[in-house]
C-alpha cells in the first residue's frame, strides 16, 4: 500500500516539476484577481451546499 501511494505521489511530483514554470507569467494583480474569483465562486458553492442540506432536512 505504501509503495502504491509512493508511486502515485511520485507521478504527481513529476507533473509538478514538468509544469513548474508556466509559459505565460501572470502579473501579481492578475493572479490575485483570478484567485479571488476562484475563492469567491467556492464561497458561492458553499452557500449552495448549505441551501441543499437545508432543503433535504426540511
Amino acid at each position: 500500500m505504501k509503495e502504491y501511494f509512493k508511486r502515485r505521489f511520485s507521478k504527481i511530483r513529476e507533473i509538478n516539476r514538468k509544469y513548474a514554470t508556466p509559459r505565460v507569467k501572470m502579473t501579481k494583480g492578475v493572479a490575485f484577481a483570478l484567485l479571488m474569483l476562484r475563492l469567491y465562486l467556492i464561497l458561492l458553492v458553499g452557500i449552495l451546499i448549505i441551501k441543499f442540506i437545508t432543503m433535504v432536512n426540511k
Partner: protein, 436 residues
C-alpha cells in the same frame, strides 16, 4: 485576312447552364463530404448538453413558468456557440486538450485547480445522468439496478471497440434520438401565437425572486457547462482536426447550438402546454403525468430522457478521462485499445461505476441533487471560462486564430452575467425575504 482579336483577359469562355450547375453541385458535394467527415464534436457536445439534468430543468421550467422563459433559451444558444467555438479553435491550433493547455500555459497551481473543478463537477453531473436514465426506465418498470448494469455495459462496449470514429457515429445516432421532443411538442398542439407572444418577450414570470434566479442559473448550467469546454477540445484533438478544419468545426458547433436550443424549447413547450401549474420536479415525473394524458407523449418524453442521460454520460465520463490522460501522460485516445491505455479506460469505468452506485442509495434526494448540480456547475463555470478566454488571447499560442474584440466582449459579458446571477442567487438563498 484580318488577324483574330486577342481574347480580353476579362472575357471568359461561356459555359452552358448544365455544366455550370454540375460544377456547383460538385463543389457543394465536396464541401459537404468534408463537413460530414469533420463534423461531430460540436453536434455531440451541444446535443449531449441537453442531458438528463437539462431535460429535468426544462421540464420543471415549463411547468412552473409556462412559455415565459423561452426568450432566455434563445439568448443562451448563441452564448453556448461562442464559448464552444473557442474550444474548436484552441484544440485545432494547439492539438492539446484543455487541461494540458492550462497546465502548460499557467502552471501547476491553476492546472490542478481547474482539473479538480472539472473532475468534481463531471462526477456530480454523471450522477445526474444515471438519475435520469434510471428514472426514465422506471416508468417502464425496469429496476434501477438493471439500468445501471446494462448502461455501463453498453458504454463500455462503445469505448472499447478502439476507434474514435465508431464511437462518434454511435454518439451521433443517439443525438438523432434526442430530437424526439420535437414531434412530442406537435402532439400537444400548443398555440403558436401564445408561444411567440409570451415566450419571446423578455420578462421574469412571477417577478425577481429566489425561484427565478435558481431556474435561470439551472438553465444556464445546463446549456453551458465546464465539461463541455474540456470535452469538445479533447474530441477535436482525438479526431485529428487541424487549423484548416476550423471553419467546418464552427459550422458543426453552430448546428449543434441550434439543435440544443430547439430541443430545450420543445421540452418547455410540452410541459408548459400540458402541465402548466402542476408541481413537476423532474422529467420522469413529467413523463408519468403525460402518460395519463397521451401514452405516446409520455413515452416520447421517457425515451428522450433516457437518451439524454445516456448521451450526457458517455461524453462527461470521457471529458474527465481525457483530461486525466493529458496531465498524467497516459495514452488517452479512443483509438487506443484497452491494453494500450489501461489508465484511460480505468478512470472512465471508475467514474461510471461510482456515479451509478449513488443512484442506488435508498432514500437519496435524487431530484434535488439533479437541480442543484446544474446550479453548482454554472457557479464554477466562470473560472473555466476565464482561462479559456486568456488562452484564446495568447497571440503566441493562437497566432491568427486568437480572439478578436467582439469575441472577447461577448465572452467577458457571459462571465460577468453568470457571476452576477450566481451572486444574486446566493444572496436570495441567504436572505429569502429580500426579493419577495
Amino acid at each position: 485576312m484580318k488577324a483574330p482579336a486577342a481574347i480580353s483577359s476579362t472575357r471568359r469562355p461561356s459555359i452552358g447552364f448544365i455544366p455550370r450547375l454540375y460544377f456547383h453541385y460538385r463543389r457543394v458535394a465536396k464541401w459537404l463530404a468534408v463537413f460530414l467527415a469533420v463534423s461531430g464534436p460540436g453536434i455531440i457536445v451541444m446535443v449531449a448538453d441537453n442531458d438528463a439534468g437539462g431535460i429535468t430543468t426544462y421540464a420543471a421550467t415549463g411547468a412552473r413558468f409556462g412559455y415565459g422563459l423561452l426568450w432566455f433559451l434563445v439568448i443562451l444558444g448563441p452564448a453556448a456557440y461562442y464559448v464552444q467555438e473557442m474550444t474548436v479553435r484552441l484544440g485545432a491550433v494547439t492539438k492539446r486538450g484543455h487541461a494540458e493547455a492550462i497546465f502548460e500555459t499557467f502552471g501547476r497551481f491553476w492546472g490542478w485547480f481547474s482539473l479538480t473543478d472539472l473532475v468534481l463537477t463531471d462526477w456530480l453531473t454523471l450522477v445526474t445522468e444515471f438519475i435520469g436514465m434510471t428514472a426514465a426506465l422506471s416508468i417502464f418498470h425496469i429496476p434501477p439496478l438493471a439500468t445501471v448494469i446494462v448502461v455501463s455495459i453498453i458504454m463500455a462496449m462503445m469505448v472499447l471497440q478502439g476507434r474514435y470514429w465508431t464511437w462518434e457515429k454511435i454518439a451521433l445516432l443517439f443525438c438523432g434520438i434526442n430530437l424526439i421532443y420535437i414531434p412530442a411538442a406537435f402532439i400537444v398542439h400548443p398555440s403558436v401565437s401564445e408561444v411567440l407572444r409570451v415566450g419571446l418577450i423578455p420578462h421574469f414570470p412571477g417577478g425577481f425572486n429566489n425561484q427565478i434566479f435558481f431556474f435561470l442559473m439551472a438553465n444556464i448550467g445546463t446549456t453551458i457547462a465546464p465539461w463541455m469546454i474540456f470535452f469538445q477540445q479533447s474530441a477535436v484533438v482525438d479526431k485529428g482536426m487541424d487549423e484548416k478544419d476550423i471553419p467546418f468545426g464552427k459550422v458543426d458547433t453552430f448546428i449543434g447550438s441550434i439543435c440544443t436550443v430547439l430541443v430545450a424549447a420543445f421540452v418547455i413547450i410540452v410541459t408548459a402546454t400540458v402541465l402548466r401549474g402542476v408541481q413537476i420536479d423532474s422529467a420522469a415525473q413529467a413523463s408519468q403525468a403525460l402518460m395519463g394524458i397521451n401514452k405516446y407523449l409520455g413515452t416520447f418524453l421517457a425515451i428522450g430522457l433516457f437518451d439524454a442521460g445516456f448521451l450526457g454520460a458517455i461524453c462527461i465520463s470521457l471529458a474527465s478521462s481525457w483530461a486525466f490522460g493529458e496531465i498524467f501522460g497516459w495514452a488517452h485516445s479512443l483509438n487506443n485499445k484497452i491494453k494500450e491505455a489501461p489508465w484511460f479506460y480505468g478512470s472512465y469505468f471508475i467514474a461510471l461505476i461510482t456515479a451509478g452506485t449513488v443512484v442506488l442509495i435508498p432514500g437519496a434526494p435524487l431530484v434535488l441533487i439533479t437541480l442543484f448540480v446544474q446550479v453548482i456547475a454554472v457557479t464554477l463555470l466562470p473560472a473555466a471560462l476565464v482561462f479559456l478566454i486568456l488562452l484564446l488571447n495568447d497571440g503566441e499560442l493562437m497566432g491568427k486564430f486568437k480572439n478578436n474584440r467582439a469575441q472577447n466582449i461577448i465572452s467577458v459579458t457571459i462571465v460577468v452575467c453568470i457571476v452576477l446571477l450566481s451572486t444574486l442567487y446566493a444572496v436570495s438563498a441567504l436572505f429569502p425575504n429580500l426579493f419577495k
